[in-house]
Each structure stands twice: as structure tokens, then as C-alpha cells.
């Protein structure tokens, strides 16, 4: 079973690689991230030498906002485009289970989310380092206490990686679930985007937990903190150190621990995983031969 799922996943990745959408996505993401990073260079704010941490975060934030929709659209096309082309029949007349096909498509979504997350971080990091360089931040009044090494900051950016990857995968899997219900690729994409926007704007305001997988507010919050810090808002360091302590980056003796927010950090990891599992199970149930004819 596992070898069949892996073989199907390789087929999915091959098909994606050979489609125009792959190259368009690559160019679009690279362009958005690069422009966001280089904005400080294009329109300097006049604050003197720029710390690369700020542009790095700006590139990541804008890149992730774009990729959220990209992954949603890719997920929404995965099954629906097979029914539109009619290739679903060609695939199913093979010794594979429908559940294996759905699992392979779900793994494809996760791999693509991972790929785009890495791509964004790599472009943003490389360009920021090359153009601006990364520096430590110290408060001249309390240099002993309020000092943040660049390695500490960069490690933190790495930590945000999971914060972004998991919600991104959950969003893509939501698109996959919609695409198992709808037989037209265009309608599947439209419904997925509308559903996402509705959930993001309305439901997120009602339930805090829901918002942590939709437009995960925590990565926005933490990355914004780091960005403000690099631009001179030194009071942000206190907040940053609290987060680092929770993540185990450094000992927390001088840290103000915000227990409630730390709990939310756990939630922002666990909730997207729970959503992902639910969407995959629903997708498998939706294509079961009892329910779905091809």
C-alpha cells in the first residue's frame, strides 16, 4: 500500500512539474519576495544602515500571503481537474484504491507547501544577507540586558517555518477536500477561495482557535515583532525573548512569560494538524465508491 501511495505521489509531482502553473508560481513567488526584500533599497527610509532582518521578514510575510492562495488553488485543482479532463477514469482503471489516490494527493499538497516555504525563506534570506547583511541589536541604555544576537534572530526565523508550513498544508488540504466534491476545476477553485475568505474574515473573529490555521495570526504577530525590532523598536526585544524562552532557544531567567500566548503557540501547531487530518478523512470518504461515480 505504501509503495503504491509513494508511486502515485511521484506521478502527482511529475505532473505538477510539467504544468505551466509550476513555472508561473515559481516566477510569481520569487518576484514578490525579491521586491519585498529590495523595497528598502528602492525607497530608503533614511534611517541609516538597514539591518537585513527587517527586509527578510517583509519578504517572508508577503511571500507567505501569496503562497497561501497558491496552495489553496493547487489543492482545489488536484481531483477536480482529473474529473474535468476525464483522467480520473484512466487512473482508476488500475490496481489502486481511491483512498490511496487521495492520500497521494494530500502528500503532494504537503510537499508543495514545504517546497514553497523553503523557497520563500531561501530567497528572502539570501537576498537580505547579500544586500543588507545581518547585525546584532543592542539598546545603548541597557546593553547588558537588552542585546539580541543576529544568530538568535535568524534561529527564530527558522522556528517560524513550522508555524507557516502547517497552516499552509491545512489550507491546501481544504482545497483538496472541495475538489473531491466538485467535478469542475474552475468551480472547485472558486468555492475554495470563497470558503477560505469567509472563514478567514467571519469565523476567525468568532473562534480564536479557527483563526490559528486560517491566516495564522501568530506568525504574523511574531514576525511583525521581529521586523519592528530590526527597525529600532527595542522594547520589542522583551516580547521576543519571551517567545524564545518558550521555544527553548535560550534560558528564560529574564523573560516575561505570557502563559496564555504560549498556550496559543501550541495550539497553532496542533490545530492545523487536526484540521489536516479531518480534511484528508473527509476527502477519502467523499471519493468512496459508494458515494462517488466516475
Amino acid at each position: 500500500m505504501l509503495s503504491r501511495i509513494w508511486s502515485l505521489t511521484k506521478i502527482e509531482l511529475f505532473k505538477f512539474y510539467r504544468q505551466r502553473i509550476f513555472f508561473i508560481s515559481l516566477v510569481l513567488v520569487a518576484l514578490v519576495v525579491a521586491l519585498s526584500v529590495l523595497m528598502e533599497k528602492i525607497s530608503p527610509s533614511g534611517k541609516g544602515p538597514v539591518n537585513g532582518i527587517g527586509p527578510l521578514i517583509a519578504g517572508c510575510l508577503n511571500g507567505f500571503r501569496l503562497v497561501t492562495f497558491l496552495i489553496l488553488v493547487i489543492g482545489a485543482l488536484l481531483v477536480a481537474s482529473e474529473t474535468t479532463f476525464g483522467t480520473i477514469r484512466t487512473i482508476l482503471i488500475a490496481p489502486i484504491r481511491r483512498s490511496e489516490l487521495v492520500l497521494a494527493k494530500a502528500i503532494t499538497v504537503i510537499i508543495l507547501a514545504l517546497f514553497f516555504t523553503l523557497l520563500i525563506e531561501a530567497i528572502a534570506f539570501g537576498l537580505s544577507w547579500f544586500v543588507y547583511g545581518f547585525h546584532d541589536i543592542t539598546d545603548p541604555t541597557f546593553p547588558e540586558i537588552v542585546h539580541l544576537a543576529r544568530s538568535e534572530m535568524l534561529l527564530y526565523v527558522l522556528y517560524t517555518f513550522l508555524h507557516i508550513l502547517l497552516p499552509l498544508a491545512a489550507i491546501g488540504l481544504m482545497g483538496l477536500f472541495i475538489s473531491t466534491l466538485v467535478e469542475n476545476a474552475g468551480i472547485s477553485v472558486a468555492i475554495s477561495i470563497i470558503l477560505y475568505l469567509v472563514l478567514d474574515s467571519f469565523v476567525a473573529n468568532l473562534f480564536e482557535e479557527t483563526s490559528s490555521f486560517l491566516f495564522n495570526p501568530y506568525w504574523n504577530y511574531y514576525l511583525d515583532t521581529l521586523k519592528n525590532m530590526s527597525e529600532g523598536a527595542l522594547q520589542e526585544i522583551w516580547r521576543f525573548k519571551a517567545i524564545n524562552s518558550f521555544l527553548g532557544v535560550q534560558s528564560g531567567e529574564e523573560v516575561m512569560l505570557d502563559a496564555g500566548r504560549n498556550l496559543s503557540v501550541i495550539k497553532s501547531f496542533v490545530i492545523p494538524v487536526i484540521y489536516s487530518i479531518i480534511f484528508v478523512i473527509l476527502s477519502i470518504l467523499a471519493v468512496h465508491p459508494v458515494r462517488k461515480s466516475y
Binding site: 504544468q19 476525464g86 477514469r89 490496481p95 489502486i96 484504491r97 466516475y294
Partner: protein, 262 residues
Amino acid sequence: MCVLIMTDIILKTENLSRHFGRFPAVENLSLNIYKGDIYGFLGLNGAGKTTTIRMLLRLIRPESGKISIFDKDLNSDYLEIMSSIGGLVEIPAFYPYLSARDNLLILTRLRMISPSSLRYSIVDELLSAVGLKGRADDRIRTYSLGMKQRLGVAGALLPAFIPQRIPNQTPLIILDEPTNGLDPQGIADIRNLIKKLNKEKEVTFFISSHLLSEMELLCNRVGILRQGKLVISEDLAKLLKEEGIEITEPKRPLEKYFMGLM
């Protein structure tokens, strides 16, 4: 006299039924297809041919009845059965942004054929068999309807070109209107290919078609479906003999002239 034993039955359906809303697409269909048959499944538009084929390939579920293939139940031994079945349902569907070779390579991967050198050689053999070797690396979106149909037949014939997992098991190929969109040359090529595979590899074929003259030349047994019900399922020569009709090479002067120019 040839005595048929149970293992000779490749495909068996018992009281298969399926409705679409209140419309009965297939009703109490009971069929036996024997090893080495080229079975012609005939009927008018809407008679239930494609619905039957979709049920046989597990694309839709029958509401009642049972399907056994290779003496096994289709629902419980699905994976084992499908490893020896190829099929083409209505319009051949492939990824338009990929070449014919890549599309067929995907099908070989789905059947877990390895190593990759074997996949490539099988695909080359298939493409040669349907006369598409010269256009193997062109994208499907550049193909004509007839070429897509040839490729669809190639995809369906794949189990006849791969080593069988179960010893002594010969494949079953289910084709729904395989000559759709083909020119006279294409029809003759596919006919000859089916006959060759049937004779040399004992491949069993279950073919639905509107082209009765083609079915006459191709099939040894036929079943006729009317409004979802099987009217008759019989040996073709016997059937026509009973009716006093003789199978002869049809006189088609224009077709003969055309083929002479090709």
C-alpha cells in the same frame, strides 16, 4: 466438443442492475464471458452498454447483483483483479500537457512496473502497436481525435504487454467504442491488433460498439442489449446460422479503393 469448466469463465455477472433516478440503465444483466472470447456488446444509444462497462471497471457501483472476474469477487479482490484488466471508457482521457510517451509511462507506474528500462520498452512496444511511435514525444494537445483514440486503445491494452502477476492468468481488456473517431486504416489496424493479441496471447476482449459490420469481422460471441436488458448472448456464427445469414467480407468499394491508395 468443447466442454466449458468454471475456470474458463473470465467474467461473470449475476442480475446486475443500476438506475439513474427512476430510469433503469441496466436491469438484471447476467453475462458469461469465456477465456479467449472476443465478445461484442451491442446496443443502441442509451441501451446501457457504457453503464455496464463502468460497473465492470468499478467506476460506478451496481445497485444489486454480483460481478466475478477471474473467479474472484470484484469488490473483495479488486486490486488483484484490476492488475489483469485494461479498459477504455467512452472518450480516451489523457493529460494534454504531457506527451503520449509520458502519459503511458504514468500508466505503467500505476501498475508498479519496474525497473524504468522495462517501463520504457513496454511503452515503446505499445506505441508501435498502435502506430504512434513517430509522434510519441508530441504533446497530446496536438493530437487529432483519431490519434487520441489510438492512444486510448494503447493504454487499455497495457495489461496484455506486461508480465502477469498470477501465473496462467490471461488479461481481460474492456473497450467501449474503440473505433470512435478512427479512419478506415485505423479501424483495420485496431481490428488486426485485437485479433493478434487474442490469438497469440489469449487475451479476452469485451467490446461495445455501434459498428455492427466491424463486430461481425472481429467477434466470436455477441450480446445484444435493449433498454438495459440483455436480449441475447450467443456464439455469433451459431446465431447467424440459425437466422440463415452468412458472414462474408463486406463489399465496400470506396473503402477498398481508399485503402488501396494508402
